[in-house]
Symmetry: C2
Subunit: 353 residues, 2 copies
């Protein structure tokens, strides 16, 4: 978390405005560009460095290669009292999944729970962005996605047929002490590998192995190996089930149909995601439940520590602290990222950040 | 899976009838006893050795200690189009959660998805028993429970505030090639530790550590340490979120309120679980989806192998093979288990298995 001398801080509103300028310059309507930009900047504010403005050059490359539809007609193609299936018409994933979250929240108000799936979407940033959306409505949120490139083989195999298929679960707590888990089903998310490569750092053992099963620690050689799932076969199992539910069930890509968006910028990705909103009031008295969540928070914190640890953290706690800091002091951008964004701005003829 | 010379095989119907005899003898109505017995025998048929008839002496001890209500009034206390909250009135968990599954399936027929939670329930056997129930209705199933004893501290701590909180996810495939994940959020389920202890075997490193962080491999010393979560902080995060959703949200025990059912046989456990049924037809054309699931199955199998592995397995595949074998040839019971069941039968004055 330390701010090094090679980094400068940028206000969140600067990130938002710059991102919106860039997206408008490549064809998004102003309102859509602003919505996407707000979510991208929020990802950075929350500390999801591998899923925020860092991805902007890649999004632009895909848009300019015809791989993303800048004027999508996002529509509901199946509808039930507690479910919907959206067709994202190959728009930016942020637009598709924020729409999906809105629908899920609206349906859960009367149904108690709602599950909304999407097909023909695209990479939408960090999972927790969407799982958090129901919190403001006193609902829990659950989001699952098919990752945008396969970096994981089935357990015991070497063919990369699975992605890191992430899950985020958000539960509302009192005084906004929400508990928010956001995790890949692999020991490391691929976004973290990309960050390591950009920073010229090595990866710890346990993140990746090569095709002979040996540890791979050079992130620039990531293409020669694959990520390791959490708990071995269990993480493989989770990645597989999440792919079936967020991909296959929605008529979205899964398995060999997943397009590697790091290397292919024009083929339709047909990305699938799902979001579930659970109305707390359908089960519990809301303030009482939120107090209970806060009690659980304090209870976990109260545990004596194992040798070598200096605190117990709750899922989302680190992110909430980063958020506070970055809202007050801005988002640190590495020199490499700053350079990439300047280059992008110059090429598009928009004002630099 | 090898059948040793110290094991004998028993027909599944023998397990069912014996279990029903035992449960009737301690006060369950015949119909309830048969329903529970059928689910317990099914757990054994599916290879969930730590969650089937192995648990019967413990269930009986709890019933005879007044810790389980043999004549529960299981009722819906909150109801929405896609949700329900059940109060299990401290009945056997199998009765509560099979009822919950029925309600979820019925609601998902019209709502598209349904989420049913339960409080005042008890240990209900393996998670996959309930996640599988929607399969016959062309639905996917998802089941989460708060485990019945805390064996897991928060990541970095030593206070055992969490259980192995398991999840099962079942997705229907063509020709009954369903994919069914059933996993604890720890590297090993506590039931497996109990099996190791009964068989006088040692545990592999990675299952448990002691309070100083050293590996613990003697299952008879299990009380001196705790289980390790999958993926370190990620497994802790999953166990925590599952506890909030299956426990706190339902008004059921979680955290320090969880009663250790291995050591306390009379205190109300207030066990919480949840089941979600997802109607495939609300998202996809059913036969097409099931074929897609089978394609994914074959695709995973097609991967070349990593050195040291001889096959790729799908979640639930091993269990399906065991099921076929045990339906045809019976369930192997270890001498120790056979002895425990004979002792139970003699004590209760019912016919031995």
């Amino acid at each position: 978390m330390g701010l090094t001398s090679t980094q400068s801080r940028r206000k969140i509103s600067d990130l938002t405005e710059f991102t919106a300028r860039v997206l408008v310059s490549v064809g998004l309507p102003a309102q859509d560009a602003h919505r996407v930009a707000t979510l991208i900047a929020e990802a950075d504010a929350l500390g999801a460095d591998g899923h925020g403005i860092f991805r902007l050059p890649q999004y632009v490359k895909r848009i300019q290669s015809g791989g993303i539809n800048t004027r999508p007609d996002i529509r509901t193609i199946q509808d039930h009292p507690a479910t919907a299936l959206l067709d994202g018409d190959n728009g930016m994933g942020h637009l598709v999944m924020s729409r999906a979250a809105e629908i899920a929240i609206e349906k859960a108000k009367t149904a108690g729970v709602a599950w909304v799936g999407a097909r023909h979407s695209n990479h939408a940033g960090p999972a927790s962005l969407y799982a958090r959306m129901p919190l403001a409505h006193d609902m829990a949120g659950l989001y699952i996605a098919v990752g945008s490139a396969n970096h994981l083989p089935p357990w015991g195999g070497i063919a990369m047929l699975l992605s890191t298929n992430p899950i985020a679960i958000a539960v509302p707590g009192a005084q906004s002490r929400h508990i928010v888990l956001d995790m890949a089903t692999t020991n490391a998310a691929y976004g973290k590998v990309k960050i390591k490569a950009q920073r010229n750092e090595t990866m710890p053992e346990g993140w990746m192995i090569d095709r002979r099963g040996n540890p791979l620690t050079d992130p620039k050689r990531a293409d020669e190996g694959f990520l390791l799932p959490i708990g071995g076969p269990k993480g493989y199992g989770l990645a597989l089930m999440f792919g079936l539910l967020a991909g296959s069930l929605n008529g979205a890509a899964f398995g060999k149909d997943v397009v590697d968006f790091n290397h292919d910028f024009s083929t339709l990705t047909n990305t699938g995601h799902l979001i579930v909103a659970v109305n707390i009031a359908a089960f519990a008295e809301v303030p009482g439940f939120k107090s209970k969540v806060s009690e659980i928070w304090d209870l976990m914190k109260s545990s004596p520590l194992l040798p070598g640890f200096d605190e117990i953290r709750l899922p989302g706690e680190r992110s909430a602290k980063i958020y506070q800091d970055r809202v007050a002091n801005g988002v640190p951008l590495s020199l490499e990222l700053q350079g990439a964004l300047d280059q992008l701005a110059d090429r598009l003829g928009v004002e630099r950040i």
